[in-house]
């Protein structure tokens, strides 16, 4: 299958308000295969959101190149953000419809009811974001990202800040939605379990500036149920990622604050 997105040796630097140049990512290369979910996992500030902005084309790389191809038609992304980022002045329906308006797709609204059903929000079409729980708002954000049949789905920590119980439900729902729509996606997270649970391939990033330190192929069934998180074939992957992130290194434990009691 063809690659939809290819990053070749991409670096990105920002000029901070102080004038200092901050290198967010360095020499990042990877390909996104069709119908695959790629997850990027790494510590805070390692440039995960930056990589998504580059793929979306809302920012340009400082060096390197990014190629985008659509499986059919024009390349367009679906975008889910670290917070749900809904328009508070629009209803659930109005929020989901937004990408259609921007792309000028007429008549395509016919599929919104189907999508609302898929994300379990039937009956809430006319509700405003303030009337929804955090979990429901995330679902709306998912629907908004899918409504225009994007070539790739960009998911930036879609469930950060959601309680554990809701998060498990939402993850399972998202996995199901992505698979049933045969989507290609890249998911950014600092949740190691989530990276394995939702990914076909996990790219582990180093701390700032972000570089890819490991690529792990996740050999699990496409549709996943929460129970898999307790199985050995799953925890094998999470352990490997923890190792790559140096989280199991004993040095961490010996580095106590100097004023800690002896």
């Amino acid at each position: 299958m063809a690659d939809l997105v290819s990053l070749k040796d991409v670096s990105k630097s920002y000029t901070a308000i102080t004038g200092e140049v901050v290198e967010a990512i360095r020499g990042v290369s990877f390909d996104m295969h069709e119908r695959e979910v790629l997850t990027l996992v790494g510590p805070s500030g390692c440039g995960k959101s930056t990589i998504l902005r580059l793929i979306a084309g809302v920012e340009k790389p400082s060096s390197g190149s990014i190629e985008r191809r659509a499986a059919e038609g024009k390349f367009v992304v679906g975008y889910i953000f670290q917070d749900s980022s809904l328009m508070r002045w629009r209803t659930v329906y109005g929020n989901i419809k937004l990408p259609m308006e921007i792309l000028g797709k007429k008549g395509a609204e016919a599929k919104i009811p189907e999508l609302v059903k898929l994300i379990n929000l039937e009956g809430f079409e006319k509700a405003y974001p303030i009337e929804l729980s955090g979990g429901m708002q995330r679902r709306v954000a998912v629907a908004r990202a899918l409504v225009h049949d994007p070539s790739v789905l960009l998911m930036d920590e879609p469930f950060t800040g959601v309680d554990e119980i809701t998060k498990e439900i939402l993850q399972t729902e998202l996995n199901f939605v992505i698979r049933s729509l045969k989507m290609t996606g890249v998911l950014v997270t600092h949740d190691i379990e989530e990276a394995v649970y939702l990914g076909d391939r996990v790219l582990v990033l180093s701390a700032h500036p972000g570089r890819i330190v490991e690529e792990i192929t996740v050999d699990l069934p496409e549709i996943r149920e929460p129970v898999i998180k307790t199985e050995e074939r799953f925890t094998r992957y999470t352990k490997e990622i923890r190792e790559k992130l140096n989280l199991l290194h004993p040095l961490r434990l010996s580095r106590r604050p100097t004023d800690a009691p002896a």
Binding site: R53, A56, G57, V58, V76, V77, Y79, F81, Q82, D83, S85, M87, R88, W89, R90, L98, P99, E101, I102, L103, Y128, P129, I130, H148
Partner: protein, 255 residues
């Protein structure tokens, strides 16, 4: 829906209650001679003055109301235009903003003579003066609302190929509505004050004119009567703006 109506009525009732308590306390203070009535007439005396005086209240109310509303509309329109210009271009902001602030910090009684000399002693100059007291909050508030948007929404629209003007229309403008309505509430009170001060300086009709003429002839009751009516008008205008704001932003969380 019915819940909403009940809640709204309860809100209105509590506003009214607060005003009634204020008036009763005032009446008691004067009745018990804590403040002599030649300095502060009792509410009953003020109401009596309204009905006993030969003043044509409706004509005066109409004159002041017309200046206040025309000034408010002009000031708001000007404020909105400036807010858009200031947000759209950093250069415009640097050039225009100092003048906007300068106009605001100059006392109106200092600007008034200049405007009267430039425009003439007429309605238009009074409306311009009134608009000067209402445009500043609109510029600052709306500009804040236009700029202070969720950057992710801007990314989302950009990723879909939206132009800056489409982003303005779909994101910045609706995002500025809560800020705009806060500004409008300040602007409408500013416009009421503006109309009165404009009348203080030069006029032959209106509540401000009545207040000054009554004061110079030591007719304290009549001064207070005009002030009382002015207050009622101010409250009604404020309530109207707030009501329109609530009705047009059901999605906005209050408190």
């Amino acid at each position: 829906m019915q819940n909403k109506v009940v809640r709204n009525l309860r809100d209105q009732a509590s506003v009214l209650g607060s005003l009634v308590v204020g008036v009763v306390v005032w009446q008691v203070i004067v009745d018990y001679g804590i403040i002599p009535s030649f300095l502060l007439p009792a509410p009953t005396e003020i109401v009596a003055a309204i009905f006993s005086s030969r003043v044509n209240w409706w004509a005066n109310i109409f004159a002041t109301l017309r200046e206040a509303i025309a000034g408010f509309v002009l000031g708001t329109a000007l404020g909105l235009l400036l807010a858009v210009a200031v947000t759209a271009s950093g250069i415009v902001r640097k050039i225009v903003m100092p003048y906007i602030v300068a106009i605001q910090v100059l006392p109106m009684v200092a600007i008034a003579p200049i405007i009267y000399i430039l425009v003439g002693f007429n309605d238009l100059s009074r409306i311009i003066l009134t608009s000067l007291l209402s445009f500043f909050p609109v510029v600052v508030g709306t500009a804040t609302g236009l700029a202070d948007v969720d950057v992710n929404l801007v990314y989302l629209l950009k990723s879909l190929g939206a132009s800056e003007s489409l982003i303005f229309y779909k994101v910045r403008l609706p995002n500025s509505l809560p800020h705009l309505f806060v500004s409008l509430r300040i602007a409408i009170t500013g416009a009421t004050v503006g109309a009165i001060v404009a009348e203080f300086v030069s006029s032959n009709i209106g509540l401000g004119f009545l207040m000054t003429t009554a004061l110079t002839s030591f007719n304290i009751d009549l001064t207070y009567a005009a002030g009382f009516i002015l207050t009622v008008i101010g409250l009604l205008l404020y309530g109207l703006v707030e009501g329109v704001g609530r009705a047009s932003m059901p999605w906005f969380r209050r408190r």
